[in-house]
Symmetry: C2
Subunit: 172 residues, 2 copies
Amino acid sequence: MTSGPRPVRAQQLDPIAFESHDHADCIKTAVAAAEAHCTRKGLRFTPVRRAALEILLQEHRALGAYEMLDRLRAAGFGSQPPVAYRALEFLVANGFAHKIERLNAFVACANPGASHSPAFMICRACEAVAEAQSPPSRGALGAAARATGFQIEGTMVEAVGLCPACAEKAGP
Amino acid sequence: MTSGPRPVRAQQLDPIAFESHDHADCIKTAVAAAEAHCTRKGLRFTPVRRAALEILLQEHRALGAYEMLDRLRAAGFGSQPPVAYRALEFLVANGFAHKIERLNAFVACANPGASHSPAFMICRACEAVAEAQSPPSRGALGAAARATGFQIEGTMVEAVGLCPACAEKAGP
DNA sequence: GGCCACTTGTCATAATATAACATTTCCGCT
DNA sequence: AGCGGAAATGTTATATTATGACAAGTGGCC
């Protein structure tokens, strides 16, 4: 999980998650949305939790819990694993972040508030993670579930491959 | 696994993976298939590897690496983690087993040899795991990949929920 | 203030996974 | 049959990921 040669460019416009966009703005928007959601639901959007979300939003890649812990510690919060795991658990439980099982790592939700059945594309070279929306209970799996009587409560879809930037570096 | 509806006898009938089938037979068949595949490909189907596959086939649920290690040790093989991890790596690499990322655990392949783009249904109550075939990257994910230029190399699909037996136990 | 639920920080430990290396086994070759 | 190299095995040691338990702090509410 090296932080590798990740492209970091001029202030606000970064080619991340396979597309360019205004990063500072996407952070502000997402944090504001989370805050609003917590207010509505009576949840406590505490400093650690806000910090954790901001840290995740800095990257469009998955961050391990211990990487998160390092950054939270650097920001003056507690320094033991549960600090990171609890903040991440809160973010995941409330749809502000997702766990990437394949990487044992966490990524900010690209679409908080939207109906959630996300699918992820994970670059095996640079570890960037992009989120796509996938319709719930899709094709073959939904059919198999109905056929056997299995009740689906949640589905994980994670594709591993090469993002456009890394594909270009790798081959012709 | 189930190669069609098969007549079954009382003693060998186990209600597993959400369906009844002849378990002893499904083990023999799968091991023979693996052996044949290895012979064809010049791979070494060594005793540990065979034992690991048999152990996985005993269950239609995912087994953690250390659970596997315990059983391999009991069978007279080495007693250190790499023993289990290497056998499992071999089985996964050759399509005889799959890793269930959600559980950090491994399950025998229900359909070895078939074109592989498996999807799993994981019961959160009893941890049974059933494998369905899913068409490779169709639908929303494939579309997103094409749109962004992401090259999918492999996809993991895991649904969590309740198997029929546990659903019945849980609530009418 | 006193109560309560929740959150935070910590220590301790569990569970999962890999690195590195000596030894043995197997296969192809002569 | 004997040799050489690649692969597999078993081991020690350690890295990485994750959780249990408990004391102390925080904030809402009567």
